[in-house]
C-alpha cells in the first residue's frame, strides 16, 4: 500500500516536473451556445493533467466564453471575436491556433471529434508537422491514447512520439465536465489577420427540431429501412416524443430519403452512446453498430429473428414494427 503511494507520488512528480503538460482545448459553439462535446473534451484534457486553456473563436464569443469560465479546473479562456471566423472555417481558425500555440507552447491541442473538430484538427497538425490522433476514447497517459479502428471492431493503443499531441476526442467516451465551480479569467487571444481568401462561407442549412440533440440525448429512437417510407417515420417520432428522445436513422433510411442525412447514426454519421437506444426496423450492419454499440441499453424491434442487431441488443422483440411500435407508444 505504502509502496504504491510512494510510486504514484513519484510518478506524479515526474509527470508534472518533467513534462509541464499544458493543453489547449478548441471550444465548439455556434455563436449562441457552447456545443456539449466541448465539455467532454475538457474532461479528457483533465485526464492528461496540467494546465488547461480554452480558445473560443467566432463572430460572437460572449455566451460560450461566459459558460466556459464557470468550468472547474480551467486556467483561462482566450477569446478571438472577429468576422474572420464566420462559419468557423478551418482556413481562418488554423492560423489563430498556430499563433496561440506560438505564444503559450502547449503540449496538447484538443477538440471534439465532431464535423468541426475533424475538419480543423488535421489541418493544425499538418501545419505543426505532427501526426494527429483521431477520435480518442481513452487516455492512458499524456502520450498514450486509445482509439477505435475498423468501425469500432478493434481498439488501438498508440503512443505518440511527436512533441505536440494533437487529438480529437470522441464526445460519448468522456463525461461532460460540469460548467460550475470555476472562475477562469478571459483574455484576448493573440491578434492577427486571420481572414482567409481561400474560402468563403456562404450559408448553412440546419435541420430544425425541438427534440434533443442526437449526440448528447439520453434516449435515442432510430428507424431503418423497415419503416418503408418517410411518412411512416411518424411512428418513430411519436415514440421518441413519449420518451423525450432524439431520433436517429440508419444509412438505408437516409439513402432512401426517409429522413435527412444529419440524423444518420453509424460509422459515417453520428456516434451516439445514450442510456437507451431503440433500433426499429434496423438490421444492424457493422457500419450502423459502429455508431451505437456503446449505448448502455439497446432495444431492437425487428421482424427478422436473424437480424445482427439482436446480437448486441439487451432486449429484443421479434415483431412487426407497424404493430409493436404504436403499441409500445401507447403503453408507455
Amino acid at each position: 500500500m505504502f509502496a504504491n503511494c510512494l510510486k504514484s507520488a513519484r510518478h506524479n512528480k515526474f509527470g508534472s516536473l518533467a513534462r509541464f503538460e499544458s493543453t489547449l482545448v478548441i471550444a465548439e459553439h455556434n455563436n449562441e451556445t457552447l456545443t456539449p462535446i466541448t465539455q467532454a473534451v475538457l474532461s479528457a484534457a483533465k485526464k492528461i493533467g496540467g494546465d488547461i486553456t480554452v480558445l473560443v473563436a467566432g463572430t460572437k464569443c460572449g455566451p460560450a466564453a461566459a459558460a466556459l469560465c464557470k468550468a472547474n479546473g480551467i486556467s483561462k479562456v482566450l477569446v478571438a471575436e472577429s468576422d474572420a471566423f464566420k462559419g468557423f472555417t478551418p482556413e481562418s481558425m488554423t492560423p489563430l491556433i498556430l499563433a496561440t500555440h506560438k505564444q503559450f507552447n502547449f503540449s496538447h491541442i484538443m477538440a471534439g471529434g465532431s464535423a468541426f473538430g475533424k475538419a480543423l484538427i488535421p489541418r493544425v497538425a499538418a501545419k505543426l508537422d505532427v501526426s494527429p490522433v483521431s477520435d480518442v476514447i481513452n487516455i492512458k497517459s499524456s502520450d498514450t491514447f486509445v482509439r477505435p479502428i475498423y468501425a469500432g471492431n478493434a481498439l488501438q493503443t498508440v503512443k505518440v512520439k511527436d512533441s505536440i499531441k494533437v487529438v480529437t476526442v470522441r464526445g460519448t467516451s468522456f463525461e461532460a465536465l460540469p460548467l460550475e465551480g470555476g472562475n477562469a479569467p478571459t483574455e484576448p487571444a493573440p491578434a492577427g489577420e486571420y481572414k482567409s481568401n481561400l474560402i468563403e462561407f456562404i450559408k448553412q442549412e440546419l435541420s430544425k427540431s425541438d427534440r434533443p440533440e442526437l449526440t448528447s440525448a439520453s434516449v435515442v429512437v432510430s428507424g431503418g429501412r423497415g419503416l418503408k417510407s418517410g411518412d411512416n417515420f411518424k411512428l418513430i417520432y411519436s415514440l421518441a416524443d413519449k420518451l423525450k428522445a432524439a431520433v436517429g436513422a440508419s444509412r438505408a433510411a437516409v439513402d432512401a430519403g426517409y429522413v435527412p442525412n444529419d440524423m444518420q447514426v453509424g460509422q459515417t454519421g453520428k456516434i451516439v452512446a445514450p442510456d437507451l437506444y431503440i433500433a426499429v426496423g434496423i438490421s444492424g450492419a457493422i457500419q450502423h453498430l459502429a455508431g451505437m454499440k456503446d449505448s448502455k441499453t439497446i432495444v431492437a424491434i425487428n421482424k427478422d429473428p436473424e437480424a445482427p442487431i439482436f446480437q448486441v441488443a439487451d432486449y429484443g422483440l421479434v415483431a412487426d414494427l407497424f404493430k409493436a411500435v404504436p403499441e409500445l407508444t401507447d403503453k408507455l
Partner: protein, 222 residues
C-alpha cells in the same frame, strides 16, 4: 490543362468482419478480401464525372502501399482514370504509414503533376461545395487549387465494365517511392497494441410489448 489527382486506398472490404491477431499487433489481413475504400470510389467517380462534363482534362489516381495497391489502381483506371501512380510502401514502413506521410506524398505529387485539384477541379478557379456538417449542410466557396474529400452521399460510383477493365490493363501506372519524392516516412506513432473491443453481454428476446415495457420500467428508463 486542368488535372485532378485522386488518392485511393486498398483496404479490407467493408463487409468483412475483421479479426484481431492473437499477438495484439494488428488485425489479420492475410487471405482477407480487400477492395478500394468506398469513399475513394466516390472520389474517383466524381473526378471521372468532372472529366465527362469537360471540367477536367485528366484524372490521375494515386495509391500508397504494397504491390497489391496496383489492383486498386487498376480498378480506378477501369472506372475512368487516365493514368495512375503507385507510391510503393511496404512492410514495416507501410505498417506505420500515417495520414501525415500520405498527405506529404500527395502534396509533392500534386506539385509535380501540376494538379489543380486533389480530387475535383472547376475551370473558373473557384468551386462551390456543399459540406455535410453535424446539424445539416453548409455551403462554402473555395479557390483552386483545392483539396476535397468526398462524403458517401456525393454520388453513386459506377461499376467498371469488362471492356473498361481490359482497357485499364493498357493504361500506364508509374512507380515511385517516398524517397524519390523526398518524403520522410519515419513513424510518428507507435502502435502499442490492437485489441478486441469489450463484448456486450448477451441479451434476451422478449415475448411481447408488455414484457418490453416491463423491462424499460425496471431499468428506470420510463
Amino acid at each position: 490543362m486542368s488535372r485532378v489527382l485522386v488518392g485511393v486506398k486498398r483496404v479490407i472490404d467493408y463487409a468483412v468482419k475483421i479479426r484481431v491477431k492473437p499477438d495484439k499487433t494488428g488485425v489479420v489481413t492475410e487471405g482477407v478480401k480487400h477492395s478500394m475504400n468506398p469513399f475513394d470510389e466516390i472520389a474517383i467517380e466524381e473526378a471521372v464525372r468532372m472529366k465527362e462534363k469537360k471540367l477536367a482534362d485528366e484524372v490521375i489516381a494515386v495509391s500508397c502501399g504494397p504491390a497489391q495497391a496496383q489492383e486498386t489502381l487498376r480498378t480506378a483506371l477501369a472506372m475512368g482514370a487516365d493514368r495512375a501512380i503507385h507510391v510503393e510502401v511496404s512492410g514495416a514502413e507501410y505498417e506505420t504509414l500515417q495520414p501525415l506521410h500520405v498527405s506529404k506524398i500527395l502534396a509533392k505529387l500534386a506539385q509535380e503533376e501540376k494538379a489543380n485539384i486533389v480530387f475535383i477541379e472547376h475551370g473558373q478557379g473557384e468551386l462551390t461545395i456543399t459540406r455535410e456538417v453535424d446539424g445539416g449542410l453548409e455551403v462554402v466557396k473555395v479557390k483552386t487549387p483545392a483539396v476535397l474529400s468526398a462524403d458517401l452521399r456525393l454520388n453513386e460510383p459506377r461499376y467498371a465494365t469488362l471492356p473498361n477493365i481490359m482497357k485499364a490493363k493498357k493504361k500506364p501506372i508509374k512507380k515511385v517511392t517516398p524517397k524519390d519524392l523526398q518524403v520522410d516516412t519515419t513513424a510518428r506513432i507507435e502502435v502499442v497494441s490492437v485489441e478486441d473491443p469489450p463484448v456486450r453481454q448477451a441479451g434476451s428476446i422478449l415475448p411481447d410489448v408488455d414484457a418490453l415495457v416491463g423491462k424499460l420500467k425496471e431499468a428506470g428508463h420510463v
